[in-house]
Subunit: 680 residues, 2 copies
C-alpha cells in the first residue's frame, strides 16, 4: 500500500490518513472530531463508542472491507460480557485502523452533544457544562522527590487532560489520600473548569473509574413559585422538575408588599432571605429524592429571578429597589458558592446568577434574552415575559432594548371579580356569538365547550369556579368583537346591546358569562374587571411602544410571548385587546418558560454565561417610570385596541364594531395613574 | 523664570521640574517617590505629610527660599486645628510648588515603610501587605444608565486607585448600599489585593473616610505552643503577641503520639483538628482583647507549622505522615478563607499557609528559610531549627538543601532524669572547674552563680528545681571538658575522676551537680541523661553532615541556631558536644523564633509569599530515613564531639581531655537504633 488508510468520520465529514494500527480515538482527536472519553483511552469508560460502516461509499469515494478495523480485542470482549456493547458498536480507543474505513460517531458518544429543544425557531443547546468528569492515573509518592498527593493529581490532570492550574479546597484535601490509595492511584475527578473569576477546581474525587453522573439545577425563582429542573450534566437531560410556592408569599403576595415588609420590620429582609433559601433547599432535596439521586451530586446551580427576589435571595435588603433611582446593589452576574446561600447540596457546589439588566429588569429577563436570543434575530422581534411585572425586549442583530412595565396581577386572575389562578374549573377559553351575544366557554380540565353535550357531566367534579387570566382576556376580547363593550372599555346596557346578559351593576354594567347552578354562583365580567385588564394591558403595550419609539419603528416583525401565562393566551384575543402591537397573527408565538430555559442553557453550556453577560452589557435599558411618552402611550393604550395606533393587520382579519357606551362620567384614567406607583 | 521650579525628594534623591502650583503629592507620584495617601489627595487622610527644608543645599545645588511652597491653606489649617500637624510638616496634597524646594518624606509617610529587624545580618522587611485601605468617591446611581452600586464602586477603585477587576462577596453586598448612602458616596474600602489564585476582593467598606488600622496575625503553630503576633498592617508594628499551650497536648505530648491517637480513634483526627482550631481562635480573641482592638479587624492570617500540625490544623488525617513514603496530602502554599478553619475574626479574612518542603520538613522550616534567607547568603550557612524534630537547611546563593532529623524531646528537658521545661528554678548555665571538678550554675530567675553570695536568698522562692535544655547541654559539655565523661559518653567513677561528685548509679556512674537541701532533692546528671542527649545531638549532627556530604563540603562558614531553644544554648558547649559542625565560635549566631519571623514577613510583604514558594521549589530535599550514610554519621556523632570528624577549630580554643571509662559493656548504639523510627 503506497498510502496510509483513509479514515472518514460521520456526521462531521472529517477525514485523514492514519498508519495501520492507529486507534480510532487517536485519529478522532487528531482530526478534532467530537468523540467523548472519560478514561482517556484506557478502555474503561466506553464513552468513545463508534459504529464502523462497511461496503461501497461512492459519496466518500471509498470501499470499506470487513477487516478495515482490528478484530475485537479482550478489552472490548470483557466490556461486552459485563455491560453489553450495542450491536455494530466498537470502542474507539481499542479498534485500530487496518484499512480505509467510514466511522460514525453516534450522538451519545459526542462530547458536545446537542440538547434538542422542541421549538423550531429555538437554537439547540450544545452540551458543555462547567463541571465534568475525568479519569486520571496519578504518580505514587516518592520520598526522594517529596511532593503532595494533591500536587501529583494536579500534574496528572494537566498532563492527561490539559487542565491547567486546578485548585482544591480543604474538603478535597481531607478525603484525597484514602481515595488515591483505595483506587490504587487511579481516580475519577469531577472538575469545575473555572470561569472569569475562578481557576479550575476539583469538586469531587472517586477511587478508580467512577461510573455515574453529576448533576446541576436550573432554577427560575419567581415571586410566586420556585421552579427547578434537575439536569444530568453528562447527558444534558432534565431528570426531574418540580415547583414550590415561594415561602415568601406569607410576607406579601407581590414584591412591593415584601419590600414594605422589610422596611417595616427590622429583621424582615433576613426573615424573607431565610424563607426563600429554606424553600429552595427543600425543593432541591425533594427533586433529588424524586429522581432517586444523592443530592450531594448536585454540583452546579443556575438561578434566574427578578431584581427584588435576586436581592432577597442573596441577603441584600431590597429597600433601594422600592424607590427611584431603583439602584441595584449589584447588577453583574454572580459566581458564588452554594453554601453562601445555605444550599445543602455538594459542599463545593457553585451557584451562578445571571446578570440583572436594570433595577426593574432582572436576571429572569436576561435568561429570556439568552433563550430567545433577540440579539441574534434577523427580523425585529418583541419578546414579552408577562407576569405581575412585564419584562419587554425589542431588538434584532442590530441591537436590543429592554424595559419593564408594572402590569400588576390582573393577568393572573387577581383583581378580577370572578378571577382565579389557572386551575381545574377555571374558564380558560371563551367565544361570544356576535349576533346572539350568547357565550360559550371551556374550563380547565375538560375539552368540551359549555354548549356541547356532556359538558355538565364532564365538569361535575371541578365545577365552573371562576375565570383565569387567559379566560378573562378571551372574554373581554370576545365582548369587544361582539359589540358588548366599546373601545373605551364600557359595557353596554341591556338596551344598548340587545341582550339581557348585560345588566346594570351599580353605576356601570356587567356581562353574565355563566348562569351558575344550585352549587355555584353565576360568573360575570364586570366593568371593573375590564378596567383592571385595561390598566394591565395598557402598561404592557406602552412599555413595548416606548421601545418601538426608541428604535424608531411603528411595527414589529414578530412577537414572542414568554412565561406560563404567555403560553396560554390567544394571539388574536391579546391583539384585539391591544396588549401587543399589531402583527401577523402567525408571527405571534409562545416560548413557554423562557426564563427557565435560559437558566438551563446557562447550566449546560458554560460559554452561554459569558455570552449573556456580554449581551446584557450591550442592551439599551429604558426606565419607563421617567419617560415622558410613557404616560401618553398609556392613555392611548387604555382603549381597546388603542386610541392612537390603528392596528391595520388585526382589522384586516377581525371585525371590530365601534359602539360607544360612554354616558359622560367614568374614571378611565384615574385608575391608571394610581397604579403607576406599583412595581414588581 | 526660564524653567519650572526644581523639586528634590529625600531620602530617595529623586528630582524633577514641575510647574508652579503643582501639589507635592502629584510631583511625588510622577517621579515614583514613595509617598503614602489613602484619600487620593483630598486632604482627608494626612498620610502624605512631608517636611520641606529651606536654605542652602550645596549638595543638591539649590537654594530654597521661605516661600518655595504655597502658604498654609484652609485644609491644612483645619487638619492642624483638629488633629495637630507636627511642627515643620505640610500635607503633600495641599502644599504646592512655588520655587525650588527640597522635600523630605518621613518614614511614616512612605507606603513601603521598612520594618526594621533588630539583628544586623537580617534584612529589613518592606511593608507591603496584601490588605490595604483606599478612600474612594463613587458615582451616584442613574436610572437612565442603570448599574449596580457595587459595579460603580469597582469602577471607582479602578479609576482612582488602578485596582483592576476587584470582586465582592455576599457579605459586602449586604452592607454596601447603606454604607454608600451614609458616606454620601464616599467610602473607605479595605481591599485584599489578590494573589496567584484570587482576584482582588473587597474586605470591608466604611462610610466616608475611615481613620484606623487593619490587622493581620502571624502564627507559629508548634506541637507544644501556639504563638501569635498581632500586626498593624498599616504600620507593620507588632501590636501584641501571646502564646497558648497547643490544646492537642492532651492527645499526645509529641507528634507521633498524636498520629497514633488518630489511628486508634475513628474521630481522633477530627477531635485534634477541632482542638487546635478552637485554641487558635481563643488565642486570637485574647490577643485582640489585650490590644483593645475589634478582632473583626483582623483580615489576614499567616500560619507556619510542621507537616503533622499542618494536616491536623487543616482537617487532614496525618496517617500517611506516620509511615514511608511520608506523603503529604498537599505540599504547596495554601490560600484559604479563615472561616475554612473556624476562625471567628473578620468574616472574609484570608489565611495563608507557607508551603511544606517535604513530609518531615514543614512550613515552619520554609518560614525559617524566608527569615534567614540561606538562598541569598554569600557564604555557606547551616540553619538549624531545634525542636523535637530538627529542621536543617544548608546553602548559599548557589543552592539550598534541607532535611529533618528526629532529635526527640531531650533538648527540651524531657527524658532527662532532672529535666524540666525552661522555667524559674531551672538550671540554665553550668561551669565545672577542670581541676577541682566542682560545679557552679545559674538558675532561671537569678543572675547570681550558685557560688556567689546571696544565691540562696535569690533563689529562695523558685528553688533549684531541675535542669532545662540549655542547662543539660552546658552540664554535659563542662563534664566532657573537665574529664568527667569520656568521648563515648561514659561518666567516670569516683576513683577514675578523683571526685566524689561522681558516684555509682547502678551499672554506670552519675555526677551530682547540686547537693539539694531540706526542701529539694539533689540534682544529678546520670549516664542515661548523657545517652539521651547523645542520641539527640547525633541525630541533629548527622542530618547536617548528610547535607554537607550532598553539598560535598566538610566545613560550613557559619551556623544559625533558630528556635527558642537555639536562642539559649551556648555555641561553645553545643560544639563540644558535637551538636553542630566545627566552625568559628563567633560565626554561630542565634536567630530567635525565625519561624515566627518568617510568618510575619509573609504577613507584611505579599511579594515574600511568591518568593518563598519559589525558594521552596528550588530546595533540594533529602530524606534522612533512607540515606545509607545517615546511620554511619549517626554512629560517629554519638561520640562527643565526634569519632570521625576532627573539629580542629573547636580544639584550637578548647581543651578536650581524652580519658576512657569504658569497661567493656555498654549499649552505645542500641538506643540510637531504637530511636530511628521516632519522627516528629
Amino acid at each position: 500500500m503506497s498510502q496510509d488508510p483513509l479514515v472518514i468520520f460521520t456526521p462531521s465529514g472529517k477525514r485523514g490518513h492514519f498508519p495501520v494500527g492507529t486507534p480510532i480515538l487517536t485519529a478522532a482527536r487528531q482530526l478534532g472530531v467530537d468523540l467523548d472519553s472519560v478514561c482517556g483511552g484506557r478502555g474503561i469508560c466506553s464513552k468513545c463508542q463508534i459504529t464502523p460502516s462497511f461496503g461501497e461509499f461512492p459519496k466518500h469515494g471509498v470501499t470499506v472491507s470487513e477487516d478495515a478495523l482490528s478484530e475485537w480485542n479482550k478489552v472490548e470482549q470483557r466490556y461486552d460480557d459485563i455491560r453489553g456493547l450495542p450491536k455494530g458498536r466498537r470502542l474507539g480507543c481499542q479498534a485500530t485502523v487496518q484499512g480505509d474505513v467510514v466511522v460514525d460517531v453516534p450522538p451519545e458518544s459526542q462530547v458536545h452533544k446537542q440538547v434538542v429543544r422542541k421549538r423550531a425557531e429555538a437554537r439547540d443547546i450544545t452540551l458543555d457544562p462547567v463541571v465534568k468528569l475525568f479519569y486520571v492515573e496519578v504518580e505514587e509518592p516518592d520520598m526522594h522527590e517529596p511532593s503532595g498527593d494533591l500536587e501529583r493529581l494536579v500534574i496528572a490532570l494537566e498532563e492527561q487532560w490539559e487542565i491547567k492550574g486546578v485548585r482544591a479546597d480543604l474538603h478535597i484535601l481531607s478525603t484525597l489520600q484514602p481515595c488515591l490509595r483505595k483506587g490504587e492511584w487511579k481516580v475519577t475527578v469531577a472538575v469545575h473548569l473555572g470561569d472569569e473569576e475562578n481557576p479550575p477546581r476539583i469538586m469531587h474525587v472517586w477511587p478508580g473509574y467512577h461510573e455515574g453522573a453529576v448533576y446541576g439545577m436550573a432554577v427560575d425563582l419567581g415571586s410566586t413559585t420556585i421552579a427547578a429542573h434537575l439536569c444530568d450534566m453528562t447527558t444534558g437531560d432534565v431528570v426531574a422538575s418540580s415547583g414550590l410556592m415561594n415561602p415568601q408569599i406569607r410576607f406579601g403576595e407581590d414584591l412591593m408588599s415584601r419590600v414594605s415588609y422589610s422596611m417595616m420590620n427590622s429583621d424582615g429582609a433576613q426573615e424573607m432571605t431565610d424563607a426563600v433559601r429554606e424553600g429552595m433547599d427543600a425543593l432541591f432535596t425533594q427533586i433529588a429524592a424524586d429522581a432517586e439521586i444523592d443530592k450531594h451530586l448536585i454540583m452546579d446551580v443556575v438561578v434566574v429571578c427578578n431584581p427584588v427576589m435576586h436581592h432577597l435571595f442573596l441577603g441584600i435588603d431590597p429597600f433601594e429597589l422600592g424607590q427611584a433611582p431603583f439602584a441595584l446593589a449589584t447588577s453583574d452576574a454572580l459566581r458564588l458558592r452554594a453554601t453562601d446561600v445555605d444550599l445543602t447540596i455538594h459542599p463545593l457546589a457553585r451557584l451562578y446568577m445571571l446578570p440583572c439588566i436594570a433595577g426593574h429588569v432582572g436576571a429572569d429577563a436576561a435568561a429570556v434574552a439568552l433563550s430567545e436570543a433577540p440579539d441574534k434575530s434577523d427580523d425585529l422581534v418583541l419578546v414579552v415575559d408577562v407576569g405581575t411585572n412585564a419584562e419587554i425586549l425589542l431588538g434584532d442583530k442590530n441591537g436590543v432594548l429592554a424595559c419593564s412595565s408594572p402590569t400588576g396581577p390582573a393577568f393572573e386572575g387577581a383583581q378580577i371579580s370572578s378571577g382565579q389562578r389557572a386551575a381545574p374549573g377555571a374558564i380558560e377559553r371563551v367565544e361570544i356569538d356576535p349576533v346572539t351575544k350568547e357565550p360559550r366557554f371551556r374550563v380547565i380540565g375538560s375539552d368540551l365547550w359549555s354548549d356541547e353535550e356532556g359538558f355538565d357531566a364532564a365538569t361535575a367534579v371541578t365545577g365552573v369556579t371562576g375565570i383565569c387570566g387567559s379566560g378573562i382576556i378571551e372574554a373581554i376580547a370576545e365582548m369587544r368583537m361582539a359589540g358588548l363593550v366599546d373601545a373605551g372599555g364600557l359595557i353596554g346596557s341591556s338596551e344598548q346591546t340587545g341582550t339581557d346578559r348585560c345588566f346594570a351593576d351599580g353605576r356601570t354594567n356587567a356581562y353574565r358569562l355563566w348562569d351558575g347552578n344550585e352549587d355555584q354562583k353565576p360568573i360575570t365580567v364586570t366593568n371593573a374587571d375590564i378596567r383592571a385588564i385595561q390598566m394591565a394591558k395598557a402598561a404592557l403595550y406602552s412599555g413595548a411602544r416606548l421601545l418601538m419609539d426608541k428604535r424608531e419603528v411603528d411595527h414589529v416583525d414578530r412577537v414572542v410571548l414568554a412565561g406560563a401565562f404567555g403560553a396560554h393566551i390567544s394571539a388574536k384575543h391579546a391583539m384585539v385587546l391591544g396588549m401587543i402591537p399589531d402583527c401577523e397573527l402567525d408571527k405571534v408565538t409562545s416560548a413557554g418558560n423562557a426564563a427557565g430555559t435560559g437558566a438551563r442553557i446557562a447550566l449546560l453550556n458554560r460559554a452561554a454565561r459569558a455570552e449573556i453577560e456580554d449581551t446584557v452589557r450591550k442592551i439599551t435599558k429604558i426606565e419607563t417610570a421617567v419617560e415622558e411618552k410613557f404616560q401618553e402611550h398609556f392613555v392611548n393604550a387604555s382603549a381597546m385596541p388603542n386610541s392612537s395606533d390603528p392596528f391595520p393587520i388585526l382589522r384586516s382579519v377581525v371585525q371590530l364594531p365601534d359602539p360607544s357606551f360612554n354616558t359622560g362620567g367614568g374614571d378611565e384614567d384615574g385608575g391608571g395613574r394610581r397604579r403607576r406607583r406599583r412595581r414588581g
